[in-house]
Symmetry: C2
Subunit: 280 residues, 2 copies
């Protein structure tokens, strides 16, 4: 339940006290975050297995698992068979929605994790665009080198018209298709899951120092890393006053896939150099 | 690509030779399998995070991540907020589809794994049915003890009208709602992933003996366990003649969650007692 209490969506029809968390004791600068468009792009770039929403013959919804890969502008590419209902559905009505959710981190409520829903129109790419789309798909799914040639398979691209990102409890936003297409994917995203595990397993002391010196919680008794990205990390902090979420930013955004390690080391160095002033 | 070649869906529009695998050299009895209805129930019982297909205001499809739990008859229970588009969609048009896919096993094409699509009508349960549905949901999602009481959350049950199961490449079937509701969930399903890992990591020799003595491949040079269930296991066998999939059945179906271990031990004992007659 503590997962729920840290991030209050502004308009749940619920008493305010259930969302109360321990406030920081020291004022800290607001830490940089990925924009919702960047969050959506980071997630979709991680994907490859998502769920497609299509319209069945009677106009009802049909949700089914598909493989996908996104191109440089975030457009998803699908390769589906008309032996599958979603393949027949797309051929009849190209309106489609694609959803991807990242696997929930261990020990966290499974609904407190990132996911994206895209909606738009499926089109069959042609010429050079089709070549690029197929090459990208086959790189992600080597077996598709075989079945892409079967007569029942069709290559589709989703022209994205709506984007909804949910980062977990209380973190969510809609994104315009233009900002989704323009957002830079986070180069560290593929390394993030392992980095979070490593920080929690091997560097709990360093996380606590960061929480005490840089996050505004000099009375922190433990700190758990919930998420990491190119701009910083999200902590879940325990204090004698209760739990609290906090965000701590890196000195510089990571620009390379392997940048999380040195950025985290810099945070620890900064925490040790700081002279926290407990406000209690 | 070898994943594709073992299980030929009958009517892909493709040349037959791409699906060719090494035939067995010794005739073996057909091994028992879960029915498609049992496969669908086993998967849905594993779930808790799936994707819901609903209809947006313009009648287009909307795919989005939801938590779910299934009741004893396989009916999914959802608890969703009208702050989320899917919650507003259901309130306007109760037609819905729920899809769940199991995480792909390591080293296997991610599309060669099990998934289920259900479609039907969402209803708001009442009275005792609502109590049971909410209790089941809250057991799977402890945080829901908090937010189930928020005014924006609604409890829904999906009345299942259509069921489609895909077990991976070439294994798929439609299932009537009646047989889905009546199918017994596989008690070993929660233990299957770990059992497959354990067999492959620690008992490769035993798997090879099973392949040679019981699966009809006396010339097998290695065998990898792909799946396991209450009735037996699926192997991927290497031979000098090429690769092949094979199914080997247990002496008796497992009736308890911890039954896979003794059933596997019995298979190894049987393999060692057998006197394989190589047909080459």
């Amino acid at each position: 339940m503590s997962d729920m209490t840290g991030n209050r969506p502004p308009d749940h029809d619920a008493p305010a006290e259930v969302f109360r968390t321990a406030p920081p004791l020291v004022e800290v600068p607001e830490a940089p975050r990925r924009t919702p468009a960047e969050e959506a792009r980071a997630l979709m770039t991680l994907g490859t297995i998502g769920t497609l929403g299509t319209l069945s013959e009677d106009g009802g919804p049909w949700a089914s698992v598909v493989g996908f890969v996104v191109l440089e502008d975030g457009s998803p590419v699908l390769l589906v068979s008309t032996l599958a209902e979603h393949g027949r559905n797309l051929a009849r009505d190209p309106r489609a929605s694609l959803s991807f959710g990242e696997p929930p981190p261990a020990g966290v409520d499974p609904l407190d994790s990132g996911r994206v829903s895209l909606a738009g129109t499926a089109v069959q790419p042609e010429g050079e665009e089709a070549d690029r789309a197929l090459a990208a798909y086959q790189e992600a799914f080597p077996a598709a080198r075989l079945y892409a040639g079967f007569g029942d398979f069709t290559l589709w691209m989703l022209r994205v018209e709506r984007v909804r990102w949910v980062g977990g409890f209380g973190r969510m936003d809609s994104v315009t298709p233009e900002s989704y297409a323009a957002a830079e994917p986070d180069p560290t995203a593929p390394a993030a899951k392992r980095a979070v595990e490593h920080l929690n397993e091997d560097h709990a002391d360093a996380l606590l120092e960061i929480a005490q010196a840089l996050a505004g919680y000099p009375d922190a008794t433990s700190a758990h890393c919930r998420r990491i990205d190119r701009y910083g990390l999200d902590l879940w902090i325990r204090t004698p006053r209760g739990d609290a979420p906090a965000r701590v930013g890196f000195a510089e955004p990571c620009t390379a896939p392997d940048g999380l390690r040195s950025a985290s080391v810099e945070l620890v160095r900064r925490a040790r150099a700081a002279d926290p002033e407990p406000a209690v």
